[in-house]
Symmetry: C2
Subunit: 416 residues, 2 copies
Amino acid sequence: MSNNVSALGQKAKKAAATLANLDSTAKNEALLKIAAGLLANQDRILAVNQNEVAKAKADGLRDSLTERLMLNPDRIASMVEGLHAIVRLEDPVGSVEKMWRRPNGLEIGRVRVPLGVVAIIYEARPNVTVDATALCLKTGNAVILRGGSEALQTNQVLVEVIRESLRGTAVPEDGVQLLASPEREAAVALMRMHEYVDVLVPRGGAGLIKTVINNALVPVIETGVGICHTYVDASANLEQALKIVVNAKTQRPSVCNALETLLVHQAIAAGFLPRCGEELRRAGTEIRGCPQTLTYLPWVTAATEEDWATEYLDLILAVKVVPDFAAAIDHIARYGSGHSECIITSDYATARQFLQIVDAAAVYVNASTRFTDGYEFGLGAELGISTQKLHARGPMGLDALTTTKYIIHGDGQIRK
Amino acid sequence: MSNNVSALGQKAKKAAATLANLDSTAKNEALLKIAAGLLANQDRILAVNQNEVAKAKADGLRDSLTERLMLNPDRIASMVEGLHAIVRLEDPVGSVEKMWRRPNGLEIGRVRVPLGVVAIIYEARPNVTVDATALCLKTGNAVILRGGSEALQTNQVLVEVIRESLRGTAVPEDGVQLLASPEREAAVALMRMHEYVDVLVPRGGAGLIKTVINNALVPVIETGVGICHTYVDASANLEQALKIVVNAKTQRPSVCNALETLLVHQAIAAGFLPRCGEELRRAGTEIRGCPQTLTYLPWVTAATEEDWATEYLDLILAVKVVPDFAAAIDHIARYGSGHSECIITSDYATARQFLQIVDAAAVYVNASTRFTDGYEFGLGAELGISTQKLHARGPMGLDALTTTKYIIHGDGQIRK
């Protein structure tokens, strides 16, 4: 088992050395070939996917997961559009961020270069296979993909088409590898392959992230778990607060930047919570409240300690009334996952303090946390949202898939 | 055991929250207090250190290690000067690297913030205790120190003096913690404390780095192992090559940026190796050569496969004659540790190719690899030289001890 994985790592590393030295034009041409290949092979891909979806249904896979797995011409078109969008992005590789001259005449520069081999372990969405491949190739990295077992056949046909499309381009086929062995040991071997993998990005729920942290020997970028808070301050414009809270919770509850816990200053709780609760109820949201919340919203369930620490990813909201700003900050520091946190306030100093104190990838004043996203930030396509502090934090665009090296031009300098 | 370590992590994390929100002025004042404290307590520190050095000698510790452990007034003065130098550096925390406005009016900025809690595991040099503390506090981080057991008493008195000096400043004492338990389990508990440690930096030999990689659950920045090459191309100016090779090998052989393997193009081997070998021999360097090297330098030992993969940190040099540029590149890709690599050439295209292809933290043309160092690069004090690609690569200055967060100013934006 681990021999197979190791062979795959070795091939990826070899391909990475070629990829690192390709110009943007060559990499973009390859991405366009992949886009054309997906369209040309649409029937073949959909046939495999339909079989796999049918099998998933027969096996009793949850509807929401089956829905994620399913491809159709629209979804293929959107993969193709994603590839075109990545082609249009500027390639960060080769850009010299800074160059300076030392007193002894040495010229020192920092140049952006690929990471090398990027491994991605993800759950059942086949579009990630194409997106992640495109982001990695665009930045001159080789990629090793390990998708969910429910999507194995779909991912296999997608990677076949990708690799076939790369033939005749400057990008080596081995720059894209699928780890197809469904065994857990194969995934663990990938996590431990320090020799060949430069970074591993797990994309999925808290369980996957935890498994990766506990097993990985390679550097990891944690992504995705979002226990996001919105704190409605005493000074908040309540109309604005209402719109933002409803949007952050209900616009797409299944994603990591959706609101999970609402904190409300006690001074405005009586004026805010009944209306807000009503609007949320109308949008189908279940509320779990602290004792004070229950006095304003007698129809809601009482929250338990566990609720404050849960990422629902669903139409459920935990609500807590807090005595002051400091209590809101403390709650966020204790239960937040470092993803996206928001304050609604009209007070200048309070806004400034919140931005300064709260320790998260994205800290908002007066806007929905749903904006934490590469496209919404104007960064373009992303590989995920990093919730760790090392290397990349927040939406991971092309830059996050690169590193730098120092280049030093001399004419005989030696150290005294 | 792990309870003690955990209590220490908890305290560090609490202190980090305070430290993150201090202005530079407050942090600099605390560093100056530490500098004054070290001077005022010089006798006390030296007394403890003399005891420990005496014990080390009695226990038969190697001379080179005893020498590293020993403090004297000059070394204390240089710690104090180091603190002053760090006070003079610009604090990166709070600087907004970029801020932009989105079409919907959201203003999004990336601001530099501390990492949080930085753990450092290092071998027997007590000056690291002071340097690392200063770099971490300057950047608003709490630090957990774990030094070598030979220096435990010296590190203890240094941390006592540091913490006493912090009393009455804005920096909480718990921002500096020494993990004093000598047991291996304590170090392992530190490496696994994902909840409280944001990054772990091991500073030491390959053995320490390997132990950390195999045990750590927290994010790690690998430092220091340097199997550095210099390749003398067919087009090299041989006078320049001679000066650079001798400097890179002999100026300070015990450090990670010193030369370990010399690669020589066969076309100039006859003209270069006899002279170079002679100069190195005069400087006390032992040479281990490939078969071709032996034909030019019959007095040297034959190199084994192991020599190409060894960081000597000593007056020993491996020498290999290569048929061409590609063979040099292959050798470096295979045996290099990603630290510092150099080419000596007068050919423009060859220089450019080497800079492009070689994958290392620092890639040189026509200069000694001994320059890979925070001060020599003009970056100021450093915590170590990172040889990994994630987060920081090359000399780790103040920036490497920070991360970023996005701050988002809105006026009611919601996502459609």
